[in-house]
Symmetry: C2
Subunit: 695 residues, 2 copies
């Protein structure tokens, strides 16, 4: 599943073929024309951009009607569906359908953003940071970012403005989004078909998943008017058809130096995989405690297994010797060209070694940085609420430009919405999570570490976790939410005076967390940013600027076509059918079709295309992206990449790297014949005059 | 904890300083003389060897009285103690003390071996394998091994003969052991003090663990006469004293090629760490189900956490850039010297590349090899019993020299003892383990793999595991043991005719398991053995033979002295005291002292030395090794290495690599004043005339 905090075997990146996650203001229409005979115009690009959306939490989405209807993946809505469920009514298991507008229910914490404007601001950033390095460079950068974001948003909470660093600082753009915070669930199928095949089939093809859900954005209590939206193509695509994917790829590392890739291979990925594997074991067994435990932990287990499999694929790419050797050779070539020119050498020659030194320092810092600085030791929604209150109370007294970046004005509305969300909190599960993460803290920093002593004292991790979780009043029951709201509004004095144990704990750990983070930002991150920017510019000097920037969870457009591939000596066909799902079903989880499907089988056309794969270059964060044709009509919905695409973080191989999508015909067929979702079908299906009307 | 399947930062190995795990017939007495002024004689070495022992399952041990009393670690006896416990009486928690001989209880499956004779057989192996390579080489090797082992044991089950490959085939020795299979538990302290500090303190120093237990070997129902044994030194060692460690280091990889080390770094270690981490999460949460679940899974959780920490230390060594660069430089130097001489080049020059090619092939095979060939997919004691019956029925019809090596005559008695052991089997836990491992099989080979289809059909892993575990009659209740015995004795026809579901399952998977294993042995293992032998000989040609062979879980002697070290800029003292344990105790697991200690505190001398560290070169498998002085008296008991020693698999750094032992004075003090083990104290304490009698 290709959603953010995750990512996408491949050869050395060369920006040929269908490779590339292009910005809307840098799209290579000429390349598409040369290969596919169609050249997207400025108007076409604007319409596609305005009809696309982003879920702030890490998915892509699209507007599919003029009345605020938004389509994305079931797995992007999973947390919302779980939060709306109770022990008595589990919408994850049973699915959800709002028969009427009144039945549409607000998701506790979901934000949809639409990119309305964008402009390049590289010069302003360069001027502000000219001649600086280290902490002063970083401070100046943050300050000018905050200034531009504030000017852009003008204090309007419905607007979200972000400066985006492209090409690792080679170019800066200012993006202005329309922010929707009232998002209501319209439709979700059963988890069993949304994620048919489960973890075993995840990142695999052929595939048979109805990984779709619909929500609607509201404004002032009414469905929002959305003039820009995609029309539906009931017939969808066939093999060989040109496809575009408009979405928000979360992050790639294709321009990283060898030192950065080695760090990823030797440190980051193994350590993350190990922690995820331990979480996985813990959660799998927690689910065995009973049905309620299973219900409340399924979304997290899904996230953990999905992340694990995605990172495992990335790791496999980096330990592939020819692949890594290619990366080393490419860097050597670039460095040799820079070294051969005295002016270039003087400007850029030292960047690679500076990055290597910073990564060595990061290695020494990584454990306190991760566990304390970034809070991996405190895995608890209740802690997160307490920390938000403690930090917001302090940060909001500061100028926007000197705050911790997640407390900048652009991000505060989303943070507040999270804090005041009524998403349920399960205390036993909170204790489990916090016990685990505090135990990891003690394990990784050592029982004799001063910070560990300060936090645990003579208590065991479980004892402390139990005390904090049981003792805090910061739940999401009405009284808890009222307390959160009151502390948010009253600010620093009230937060400082609070005797709530979780608030006290968040106050206790905050100075250490801030100190290690500042150490990292000053001594490592600023060096990396500065020198990555130099490497990016060195690359421009040698290879020109006609390439795409690494992904940054901002709107991008990729092009490609519906194509199979070869695997272990046999041909993988690019399109599956509804009939194939029935053939694959064993009746046992995760290969068990829902009852609704079994009952509807006689009514279904088994030859209906179900899932398909295409050569579009995507990565985690692209989940939920619309797949569109030349007429900008919806022909599919991206929900995954194949296993071969998992090294896509570091490069792209068109021969095997595939995006995996739900076909538009299957979505309509299922809504119509399985779920009897007449209202939704009417809203999606084109008027009879233009509709293919085949089914 | 340094026991086998586990292992021991270090710079490139140079056989200087106190480095080395020396064979008894290759011990460098001259080096000890030069550094410490004491030269162990042949008689001294023989006495030490004969007073030492090995626990066949993976620990070292020593004879400490003429009446068969054997000392090793609590963690080596942990499985036995758990097997003797019940829901009502948990000896792991409460400890165990046999007041009289009659109270000594037989461990269900424990074998103690004493090395009585050894001789070199290199010539005979070389003659038998001359001119051969690939499968014929491997077959000839196995055949001559089996011949020599059979001749040596002469059909006597009390004798265990093994050909040992030293220097990766540079030298072969034939070892003859006296085998003891009636082993009875005499004393074990509470787990809380045996493993005080738990996982957080594991592989750490300073340390405060009474990781000791005593068992007694019996012969014909009576305590065995053991003429060779170590005297006790009540005063033990002080800082700077010369120490010897006699034990069975399980395995090192100091002579591996760079291709082998890369495979270890990029494939083996990450994958093992990931699986162990998932097991760890699963078991941690399983323990939360209730006290009985905690009791039956503690030994396995301990094993998993210990293995995880040990392998994590090895991984850290391999991803340390200067360390790895040293290994690369050493190999380049050796290869350059071989290349510089035409004769040497012709004989040895191709070995490194041959090993690299074999490792590449191993990479492709590793998943079916591990999960199917070596049975990682079938984690169940009941499956293991069924497999033993199915395979033994087939293998015992074959000549010793052509059997699967674990079914050779030398190993059958231990295998039979395991099969017929009354160690309890917990069916719910068996289902948990088998479900996990079958799920990993499906995950790693893929849901569409033909073997996965054959095994699971339409069933889920849990469904299959439940059916097999609930359905089999092969338990360790009396009826189950009778069935095992009958099938073992009746052999192939009876096993083939059995309708027991676990036997049927073992029959189902056996052909695939054998096929992949044979593929590996023929195409990879034989190439590795042959070429590792060439590399070993190439090293002899260039550097001579005055070095020690990589560890092989056979008797070795290391020398060193009681020394502290520097860590993060401060001095670590080499000896802790009983008083220190009381200071470190928090009253919370794993820093909770047992009640017996709290009660005895007023009677204890807090200055009694408790644990100490020394420069002896050890590795996993050395757990339980006696630490002795010049007079061959017990001064300590090895139970661990420090965290810096964990890269010891690949090299040794005397400045920080330390063995960690329980001091002989602490053992006596605890037995006397805490446990009131008068009978044991009398047996251990030297006669007043010779005893120091200080305490």
């Amino acid at each position: 599943m290709r959603y953010l905090p995750l990512a996408a075997l491949l050869l050395v990146s060369n920006a040929l073929a269908d490779e590339g996650m292009w910005t809307f203001n840098g799209f290579p229409s000429d390349k598409v024309q040369a290969r596919y005979g169609f050249s997207p115009s400025k108007e076409w690009l604007d319409k596609v951009r305005l009809s696309s959306a982003r879920m702030a939490e890490g998915c892509s989405a699209s507007f599919v009607s003029p009345n605020g209807l938004v389509m994305f993946n079931h797995h992007c809505a999973h947390s919302c569906i779980e939060q709306l469920s109770t022990a008595k009514k589990d919408f994850v298991a049973s699915g959800f359908l709002a028969k009427t507008e009144k039945d549409e229910v607000k998701c506790p914490a979901l934000e949809i953003d639409q990119l309305t404007d964008l402009s390049e601001v590289t010069d302003r950033v360069s001027q502000a940071t000219a001649g600086l390095s280290g902490p002063p460079y970083e401070e100046a950068r943050k300050k000018v970012f905050a200034q531009m974001e504030n000017e852009c948003a003008g204090g309007n909470d419905k607007v979200r403005c972000e400066v985006v660093s492209l090409y690792h600082g080679g170019k800066y753009d200012l993006y202005r989004y329309r922010r929707y915070q009232d998002v209501r669930l319209v439709f979700a199928p059963e988890f069993a078909i949304a994620f048919f095949g489960g973890d075993p089939d995840n990142f695999m093809f052929p595939r048979y998943d109805l990984d779709v859900s619909f929500v609607r954005v509201y404004e002032d209590g009414k469905p929002a008017r959305t003039d820009s939206y995609f029309q539906w193509s009931p017939a969808g695509v066939k093999e060989g058809d040109l496809t575009f994917v408009s979405g928000n790829p979360g992050g790639t590392s294709r321009n990283w130096t060898v030192a950065e890739l080695e760090y990823e291979r030797d440190v980051t990925l193994p350590e993350r995989l190990i922690v995820l594997a331990q979480w996985r074991g813990l959660l799998t067994e927690f689910q065995e405690r009973g049905p309620e435990q299973k219900r409340i932990s399924t979304a997290m287990l899904f996230y953990v297994e999905n992340s694990y499999k995605a990172l495992r694929g990335r790791f496999e790419a980096l330990v592939d010797k020819p692949f890594f050797a290619g990366k080393v050779a490419a860097e050597q070539e670039l460095r040799a060209k820079i070294e051969a020119n005295a002016a270039l050498r003087a400007r850029y020659g030292g960047a690679w070694d500076a990055i290597a030194r910073a990564k060595a320092e990061q290695r020494d810092l990584r454990k306190p940085l991760g566990y304390v600085g970034f809070g991996a030791a405190f895995s608890s929604d209740l802690f997160r609420a307490a920390q938000t209150l403690v930090r917001a109370a302090e940060e909001r007294t500061k100028d926007n430009g000197v705050r911790l970046e997640e407390y900048s004005d652009a991000r505060l509305p989303q943070m507040k919405a999270h804090l005041l969300s009524r998403a349920p909190v399960y205390r036993d599960f909170e204790i489990l999570k916090l016990t685990f993460s505090l135990t990891k803290l003690r394990e990784e920093l050592g029982a004799d570490d001063p910070f560990v002593h300060k936090v645990l004292g003579k208590k065991s991790p479980k004892e402390l976790a139990t005390e904090l979780v049981r003792g805090t009043k910061l739940g999401t029951d009405p009284a808890g939410l009222a307390l959160r709201k009151s502390l948010w509004e009253k600010g620093r004095a009230a937060v400082d005076a609070s005797s709530d144990p979780m608030i006290a704990f968040a106050r206790l750990v905050d100075p250490d967390a801030r100190a290690i983070r500042k150490h990292f930002e000053d001594d490592v991150e600023s060096v990396l940013k500065k020198n990555e920017e130099l490497v990016a510019r060195a690359r421009f000097e040698i290879y020109g600027t006609s390439t795409y920037p690494d992904a940054t969870f901002t709107p991008r457009l990729s092009y490609g076509s519906v194509q199979g591939y070869r695997e272990n000596g046999h041909e993988v066909k690019p399109i599956t059918t509804l009939g194939g799902a029935f053939a694959r079903a064993t009746g046992r989880d995760p290969f068990q079709l829902p009852d609704s499907w079994i009952k509807a089988q006689p009514r279904l056309d088994p030859s209906t295309p179900f899932n398909f794969c295409s050569t579009n270059d995507i990565i985690g964060g692209n989940s939920g992206s619309p797949v569109i044709d030349k007429e900008a009509r919806i022909v599919g919905l991206v929900f995954d990449g194949n296993i071969q695409s998992l090294g896509g973080d570091y490069g792209f191989d068109e021969s095997v790297n595939r995006a995996v999508s739900v076909h538009s015909a299957a979505i309509l067929e299922a809504l119509d014949k399985i779920y009897r979702a007449e209202r939704l079908v009417r809203e999606l299906r084109p008027a009879p005059a233009t509709g293919a009307g085949a089914r």
